[in-house]
Symmetry: none
Subunit: 175 residues, 4 copies
């Protein structure tokens, strides 16, 4: 059943390019080099294609996995830098899905969930390391959303940020 994946690939590509509303089923079919009718053997509707993409190609699970990585015992700034770099790579790998997130009106919720999860991942890490005396006491909540935002926005804009420089900015003394 690799045909299904092939269709999802095409849909992801086309939706990211033209937006979910802007892309037609015919567009997707042409990108997959099949006839439009075939899409309906695999998906109930265009809408269902979007939902399937979000469900099966979503990377929230992979974002959650990063939490274990945060347990790393190396110095805080090293681990934080790696964490952000991983997150940045995740976004880079899923640039098209992010584009779909942004184009699909009904995908606002997934975006918010993603952001909340990311903030928590980083925030929890900072709290731990402050408690351990490794990082200076600071507003960890604001720091978390700042770091998250800096990586996410710049990746989205196609102008990825230098993660090491970013960490150095907030925690200069530790570098």
């Amino acid at each position: 059943m690799w045909r299904r994946e092939q269709l999802l690939d095409a849909a992801l590509r086309v939706f990211a390019d033209k937006g979910v509303d802007g892309a037609t089923v015919k567009d997707v079919a042409q990108a997959a080099e099949v006839t439009p009718g075939l899409l309906y053997r695999y998906f109930d509707s265009k809408e269902a294609m979007v939902e399937t993409l979000l469900a099966e190609r979503g990377f929230l699970p992979r974002l959650r996995e990063l939490r274990s990585q945060a347990r790393d015992s190396r110095p805080a700034v090293v681990v934080l830098t790696e964490l952000l770099a991983e997150f940045d790579r995740l976004l880079a790998d899923n640039a098209e899905l992010m584009a779909v997130f942004f184009s699909a009106a009904q995908a606002r919720a997934p975006l918010a969930t993603l952001a909340a999860e990311g903030r928590r991942l980083i925030g929890d890490f900072l709290i731990e390391r402050v408690a351990a005396g490794e990082l200076r006491p600071h507003d960890t909540a604001t720091a978390a959303r700042t770091l998250f935002a800096a990586v996410a926005v710049n990746r989205r804009l196609g102008t990825p940020i230098d993660v090491a420089a970013l960490v150095g900015l907030l925690f200069p003394e530790e570098g």
Copy 2:
């Protein structure tokens, strides 16, 4: 010719809500409490409405005006905080237009321009104040995009950031 503005208001509201592609001309007309035909007396096409919104309701000029404000002679962190607060207010005031930016495929460019302008505004300010010895030497480019991103993303997500805390995070000693 206030009828024109009324139509633009309705279009902005509706496009922000349903996305440009998702909204129909009829939707806009109903929101403006007129009939669809009337829209074509003021605009050539639905597409032209979007362009007009971007052109006439864009806030790039107001963002540029902030540059003069950056000349303020008060302490750097005070001015920076005010600058970011202004920028945040600008985004809050134009939340609907931002939503249109994100939904309209052809509005990707304005977004990039906006970001570049914002980064430059903040970056130039930081360079000046570092040169003046008011702020510690640091990677001003990374700082600029970080500050910009932190404000923009959180406003967009509906979870606005505490601007003073943000500045305090990057420049703790100066607070």
Copy 3:
């Protein structure tokens, strides 16, 4: 708003001719000499057209009105003959709607209701006149469905029955 009626007329004609499922929206549009899209200004869907026909063109109310006519004080066989003739005329006038009834799977219920109402109309009349000693005692329920069926089937088959002969068959002595 006579356009609406014109479209219903066309729909009735076409649905009766080709069956609801067999007829296309395009068929109806062509019969009405408009474009298919226009139908959707007046009706939500093809399905809604059928429902509207059943609701607005149904003749159940007129069938019910016949009940007052049954109060007529003239001899039973005279009144019964007139009643059946009226009913037969009703069916003749609504031959197309009947055809739709038969073709639309979901219209089975209206048909059953129509039949029940008709049986009751005739049955009640017979009971009264038997009670009045005007008609010989007999199985009025069976008589009612027989009379109803004889008229309905033959009208439907395009071979209308002679109503007077029909009444004469069941009540020869009274003639």
Copy 4:
């Protein structure tokens, strides 16, 4: 070649349930627990399935056989009652085929033929028995279509009539 019959069984069931136009080839295939493609090894088209049903499952022959039964020498009302009961059973046994008759536009003709045949069967019987002095002289044509209609309509509506009562209604003195 019982597979063919199995497919016809499924088709009959599905066509009766959803109407010929409303049922899809896939519906029939699923009901027969085979794949759609297989149907085309046994029938040229969906249309051909309907025609085959009408041709091979039609009960006109069995209706004609009743004619010999009409030769029965027992009293007229007894034989007539049996005749109608047989006819009623025939309809009951072929309820699904009748449903197809009613749903398929092109099956209107078979219905008319069936009705004509039924009327003639009963009509001829009545003529004979009137000639034999067994039944009172009456309009046998009207009687035939009345008896036929009463049985057919009520069977079709799912409210079968009491055949003995029906005969008693038309020929009370003979009972």
